[in-house]
Symmetry: C2
Subunit: 499 residues, 2 copies
């Protein structure tokens, strides 16, 4: 068995070299590439991805996996080797169960659909995108059907991002969460709105950039293993266990945008920088799931970055950097401003109290589309009705409504729920961390995040993709993914802010 495992690992190493190389080609495209390099870059990404796919779905790996499945029956199922075999088998099934023809059609369709989505959004004409979305939904249904049997047609899509989770589980969690979150924002709506207009002053971009780097470094980012760059949309990407990079976008009149995106992406990066070195160049050197990934970004961005304790330490530094803009703003005013709740139309601009509602709406629409209960042509009115029901606002146009997100044009169906699940997990981890680390707030107030990062390294990061998200959360907190801690957190926080 040892010899077969070594052979499997050697093959996986080369495949992960290719995957990380493709990630570099894409990062460079977003960050550095001269505009006209696009065409050949597309060829290169295509060639590398095809090679990685072909190497992975080779009969050789299939054979090794099936032999190892049998021979590894004596292994502790929680051992690294057993996990490697299990995770590799899951990925192998995902890549082999879908006919190459279908994958090609979907790739071609989404690349054709993207500019139509862009045009539809720009011109506020859903009908421009509608025929493409119809085809995307149809092909996505075909894609899901490759994974029969399932309890729900949405399950296989969800499982691309959340291994082992059922749509029914997610629905149950969200059904518990939704009414409480709707109530909360109704309550808040009865209080006087918070004035955060001072955040829209001009803040020198260079200083914003410097402050972001300082915060990332305080969180534990090591510049010998990471770097921050600028790109149109912030993201984090990984080229190896010691080379994880993230980006931000600096807006001169929206200081908090770049700052919280740096914290958010730092959280993602710290996760990727914390995988067990023994997992290098294998599928275990990856996140447990997208929701767990998002729990890391949200923990640093919201639970730490939007806390009083954090700003106790960092606000004086921010005032020193921006004396003209902030000299008559005290830390309490700043704290309330960055935690302002206001139901709005755009998911990516939503605050902590409303964000999950944007996500739930999308999940419900996706499920209905996949179940064939909702026709694509009826999507805009379904969207608007649900926005009114959950958030009390109705988009004046589809540009700021059903057309706002790029995801569906890229065939990313099943992805949205991971955002809300990540929020829930972040607070479950936070509650447990507060029990384990008694001096949490004191340390944050001193700008000292060492214990937090250590706790995350030990409990979350090091395991990489070894455990499925529900397993991991259960193992750390004693319960599966659960909405109650998040609700407790929101209530406590906002009752105090809007007292």
């Amino acid at each position: 068995m040892e010899q077969k495992l070594t052979r499997l690992k050697n093959k996986l190493n080369a495949i992960y070299d290719l995957k990380h190389t493709a990630a570099l080609l894409e990062w460079d495209q977003q960050v550095n590439m001269p505009a006209n390099g696009n065409e050949e870059r597309g060829d290169q990404i295509g060639t590398i991805s095809e090679l990685a796919h072909n190497m992975f779905v080779s009969e050789d790996i299939g054979q090794l996996l099936s032999e190892l499945q049998t021979e590894s029956s004596n292994l502790d199922p929680r051992s690294d080797d057993a996990s490697l075999i299990k995770v590799t088998q899951r990925l192998y099934d995902q890549e082999t169960k879908i006919p190459v023809e279908l994958l090609k059609n979907l790739a071609q369709l989404t690349s054709v659909a993207y500019p139509y989505w862009e045009k539809a959004k720009e011109s506020n004409q859903f009908s421009v995108f509608q025929p493409y979305l119809e085809k995307i939904i149809a092909l996505t249904r075909e894609l899901a059907q490759c994974f029969q049997p399932y309890d729900h047609i949405y399950d296989p899509l969800l499982n691309f991002y959340e291994p082992g989770m059922k749509t029914a589980d997610v629905k149950q969690i969200f059904d518990e969460l939704r009414p409480l979150q709707v109530d909360l924002i109704h309550d808040i709506a009865h209080h006087a709105p918070i004035d955060d207009s001072f955040l829209r002053q001009y803040f020198e971009p260079e200083k914003q950039w410097q402050f972001g780097l300082e915060v990332a470094e305080a969180f534990g980012i090591d510049w010998k293993r990471s770097r921050q760059d600028k790109s149109a949309h912030p993201f984090t990407t990984t080229f190896g266990q010691n080379d994880v990079r993230f980006t931000t976008k600096v807006l001169d009149r929206h200081m908090t945008s770049s700052l919280f995106s740096t914290m958010h992406e730092s959280g993602h990066a710290l996760y990727e920088l914390g995988f067990n070195p023994a997992f290098k160049r294998t599928p275990l050197s990856d996140a447990s799931s997208l929701a767990v990934h998002e729990s890391q970004s949200r923990l640093w961005e919201n639970l730490i970055g939007r806390s009083r304790a954090f700003w106790h330490h960092f606000y004086p530094k921010l005032m020193d950097l921006f004396p003209d803009q902030l000299h008559n703003i005290d830390v309490e005013t700043f704290y309330r401003a960055i935690n302002k709740v206001e139901p709005s139309l755009i998911r990516t601009e939503a605050d902590e109290a409303t964000y999950n509602l944007h996500v739930m709406l999308r999940l419900e629409l996706e499920m209905e589309l996949m179940e064939d209960k909702l026709a694509v042509k009826d999507l805009p009115s379904a969207w608007n009705a649900r926005m009114q029901e959950y958030l009390g606002v109705t988009p004046s146009d589809d540009t700021r409504g059903v057309l706002q997100d790029v995801h569906w044009s890229a065939g990313l169906i099943g992805y949205f729920p991971t955002y809300a699940l990540g929020n829930l997990i972040s607070v479950q981890l936070w509650e447990k961390m507060r029990v384990d680390l008694h001096t949490l707030d004191d340390k944050i107030s001193q700008g000292d995040f060492h214990d937090i990062l250590q706790w995350l390294r030990v409990n979350v990061h090091q395991h990489g993709a070894k455990f499925e998200p529900q397993e991991l959360v259960q193992q750390i907190t004693g319960s599966k993914i659960d909405a109650k801690p998040y609700i407790r957190y929101l209530k406590t926080k906002y009752e105090e802010i809007y007292r």
Copy 2:
């Protein structure tokens, strides 16, 4: 035949995607990569290079090539398709005639040898590097012997960089050049030295950078297809026909270093940006040879960048940028300073009048090593004797003597002559260009390089690797690579400067 050509091209396209991807991995390593990313980056470059090699030496390509060789006998040998077959066959022979074992041994040896060369150079102890260089020379002899029969054992090494050239040709050219260049610098030594101390003032790095970009843009660099970054050693690299990048190093007390390196690398980049679009993702989308490549960089750096006409236009701009440093330096003083001749120990710091002598010395030593006429242990004394003979200076230590260049530690034997051949070609092209473009100096004096770039595009760049260097030079200038124009150029230039 059409079908086979298409199959060959498809395979070459994927291989060239891999080669350009490897180039990105290496560029990123020099320009952006966090320090600790090194280990996995090495794995990635290894994996991609091995894949590219394996795809190229496949029996499939061998078979296609041998069938195409026969079937293409009716093709015009100067047609694109005939050239593609010929050039691909040459590269195929190069990669298949060397046993994989030998390639591996050499790669392993040079990667082990590099730190010993570094250490030897740092500590001025040739003996630390000597045993490794002995092995490198032995393996390089083996490498050359794979290409028997040949007129001279150095021929195959030279041919890696200069297809079709014979060692005897190079020797003949250099034998003509050497005495004339030695005489020239003896003459100059009798004149009063030029004072260029003002160039060693502090010049703000940011302004140096800006000025370099302005010059590169004036030369014709299009930032939609290129970019300049910073790295420890300046270089140019290509990721596709519309993405060619170069780097520089800015020294705050050595303004001309960064400026002339930007001009030099711009020349390389303009060549790579000018290949026929029909050659995309094939071996024809490459330089004719390293010497032709170097002719392009030297033409922009020296024939244009160190000319009076150039500074007539650009010196007022430079004075505006650096008024404190240059207010009492007139353009003539500046022109003489950047053209100062001074025999020195270090090749990379050598001026136009002495540079080739550094190269010739290296070629002679390499030939003697390969012929087994010189033992590695006697290299330092042979080096020093020849430095005294050609340049009238003797290194006080091996650090600034035989250990100065990295090339031998990397197994790059056969590479040095391309630098001097490039200088010669640059002047041959220049003489022809002056005949074709009557208003050359006027245009340069106006900062207008459009006609020059056009001439190079048509006569040199577009052909890519289609013609061997001697063919190309013959076709443009009517004669093969020739030392006389270079000698004429040096004499005229320096007699006037040191009149």
